[in-house]
């Protein structure tokens, strides 16, 4: 199942209210586009980790899609972006955008949150 095609949503930054809402929007977008699966991938530095309290409200909105949640080290983002196969929505905290180097790729849809 993990090798199937997913609606990819990658996230850089802390899971605040705004970001949670954005992720819920992405879930609804996947519904609208009839994707059977969605993958949320969170990039963190060593000090932080996934906030399940925050992510729970997103998961509770879903009944139809398969959902995979991954946690990746921030340092892996560059190489991950370099090897994207399909379309990826990248949600990045506004604070972090200026410091990030993002590859030019038509499959990458960047949103500042």
């Amino acid at each position: 199942m993990l090798e199937q095609e997913f609606f990819e949503v990658w996230v850089v930054g802390d899971l605040g209210e705004e970001l949670v809402e954005k992720l819920k929007e992405k879930l609804r977008e996947a519904y609208r586009r009839n994707h059977p699966r969605i993958r949320f991938r969170f990039y963190y530095d060593a000090q932080n980790s996934l906030n399940f309290e925050a992510i729970r409200s997103i998961l509770l909105e879903n009944t139809r899609l398969s959902v995979v949640i991954e946690e990746r080290p921030f340092k892996a983002l560059e190489s991950d972006l370099g090897s994207i196969g399909g379309e990826v929505s990248l949600l990045v905290s506004k604070k972090l955008v200026p410091s990030m180097k993002l590859p030019k790729n038509s499959r990458l849809k960047l949103a500042e949150v």
Partner: protein, 512 residues
């Protein structure tokens, strides 16, 4: 698996790894705290230790774990279910620890009701915690052990991220596991990162061909005959999954796996056993008779896991099917069988809102009659139901609860146990003690009292004349009767304290 030390350990705590003395319903005691007796004795009644082989592999194990064990062994992995008392023996070499549970933290009903009413933590949650704390997990994690959790209560981990961290849980798997577990195991073996959470949606559930037969016995011979349910009740997640009927060949193969190892009784498992082979909710008497003839051929006694009340009424009224199945089931020494059924509410208004198809083929307006008629049919045919009803459903009004109380009065003559459960929408679970936030109103208490007195009275007869009537059940029978007497005394004291008229004086009018 050869007799090598398993690299993948599948397990759960004692409350799940037990056959409850061969009496599935006694397993419900694991959802409560010890009441009126020492916890050790309560645990012995509710979940005695399972017989194991020299490796600590249990004689019987939860069916879902057996499915995963078979799946992994079929793929060539060295995987085995290990009794919780023996897990520590294998942990130093294990690569993966897989856990499953019906109620890890006692957040599901009826555990949550027990907790609410008694203010004591139920033994299932306590036992699971003690089991996890007993394992040298930190050392094993340092060595690279991966821990995956799943089962029907997988969602509960989302409410306990603290325990995920403490016990080093790597992955939560929520949903049917057949298509995901091997992927996860492959990743763990190749030391690739594991996802933290996987929810298996309806599009990724396995086809029948992907579901392997179990290789060793399941608890009390339970065998799945269907997955999914077509009724679409709003409070139930099973209904979201596509309906799949297991072929008789697969069912027979699993019956034989149990029988060969001495498990000669079985439970047919489905959300609605009477829908086996059905088209939607249109019953298929032929398929049901074939299924039961097969069960009769291999088993000494047959039970059903769940059936819908509408299907019971429909089966008897349209096809005389309950009577026909009784002729098959109640022979060769068996004279009753048990099943779980859902009343949920006595209110037509609420039934129409939350479970409009539960009464089908009858209209939702007839729901209370459907319930009563089905109870009468079960009583006449020696089917002993353990029924649930849900309090605190969304949009419930006091009038709805009064309707439920009235329905309970009409069910008095029918042999049954009725258990009230509080509905708690997960979306509003805000803290770890969410179950203590449930607003219990006077009308809820009234329904709970009616359920209590109905159930304790009938329980005495059920224990004495049906469930535990054999001489070797005498110690268990005595202990359960002591418990019932204790519970009655406690309830009378509570009623006195609340200043409410005791319900106990109303005699049961037994239906003949």
């Amino acid at each position: 698996m050869a007799d090598a030390r398993p690299e993948i350990i599948l397990t759960t705590d004692r409350t799940m790894m037990s056959n409850h003395h061969g009496k599935e319903f006694i397993g419900f005691m694991t959802t409560g705290p010890a009441i009126g007796m020492p916890e050790k004795l309560w645990m012995w009644i509710a979940c005695p230790k399972m017989k194991v082989d020299s490796m600590g592999r249990p004689w019987q194990a939860p069916y879902a774990l057996r499915k995963l064990e078979a799946l992994l062994q079929d793929k060539g992995y060295n995987a085995a279910i290990i009794d919780p008392d023996y897990v520590v023996r294998y942990l130093p070499d294990a690569k993966i620890l897989m856990l499953s549970h019906h109620d890890y933290f006692a957040l599901c009903p009826p555990s949550s009701e027990w907790w609410l009413v008694t203010k004591k933590e139920p033994v299932n949650a306590k036992s699971f915690r003690n089991f996890m704390n007993s394992l040298p997990i930190a050392k094993a994690k340092e060595r690279g052990l991966k821990i995956m959790v799943g089962g029907p209560a997988a969602w509960q981990w989302l409410y306990r991220p603290d325990l995920m961290s403490r016990w080093g849980i790597d992955t939560i798997v929520d949903g049917e596991g057949e298509r995901i577990v091997v992927d996860l195991v492959e990743r763990a073996y190749s030391e690739e990162p594991l996802p933290r959470y996987v929810f298996v949606g309806p599009g990724d559930v396995p086809s029948i061909e992907e579901i392997p037969p179990i290789r060793r016995p399941s608890i009390n011979g339970l065998i799945e005959i269907m997955r999914g349910c077509p009724r679409g009740c709003r409070f139930c997640s099973v209904t979201l999954r596509p309906l799949r009927h297991m072929p008789l060949e697969l069912i027979e193969e699993e019956m034989l796996v149990n029988v060969r190892e001495g498990v000669r009784s079985g439970i047919l498992h489905s959300e609605d056993v009477l829908l086996y082979g059905a088209k939607g909710i249109r019953l298929n008497p032929y398929a049901l008779i074939k299924l039961h003839q097969l069960a009769r051929k291999h088993w000494e006694s047959i039970a059903w896991s769940h059936a819908s009340l509408a299907a019971i009424k429909n089966a008897e009224e349209e096809h005389k099917l309950i009577s026909r199945l009784r002729e098959i089931i109640c022979s060769e020494g068996q004279d009753y069988w048990g099943v779980e059924v859902g009343i949920e509410t006595g209110s037509v208004r609420l039934a129409k809102k939350i479970m409009p198809a539960k009464s089908a083929p009858y209209p939702a307006e007839k729901w209370p009659e459907v319930v009563e008629d089905a109870f009468a049919i079960m009583h006449e045919n020696n089917i002993i139901p353990a029924a649930t009803l849900i309090l605190g459903l969304p949009e419930e009004t006091p009038e709805d609860v009064v309707k439920t109380a009235e329905l309970l009065d009409r069910l008095k003559p029918y042999r049954s146990l009725i258990v009230p459960m509080f509905f708690v929408p997960m979306g509003v679970l805000k803290n770890k003690d969410w179950f203590t936030d449930v607003e219990v109103k006077d009308e809820h208490i009234e329904v709970m009292r009616r359920c209590f007195w109905h159930s304790v009275r009938w329980a005495e007869e059920i224990i004495e004349k049906f469930y535990l009537r054999k001489s070797h059940h005498a110690p268990l029978r005595l202990l359960l009767k002591m418990f019932l007497n204790y519970a009655k005394r406690r309830m009378k004291a509570v009623e006195k304290k609340l200043g409410v008229a005791p319900l106990e004086v109303e005699a049961v009018q037994v239906a003949h």
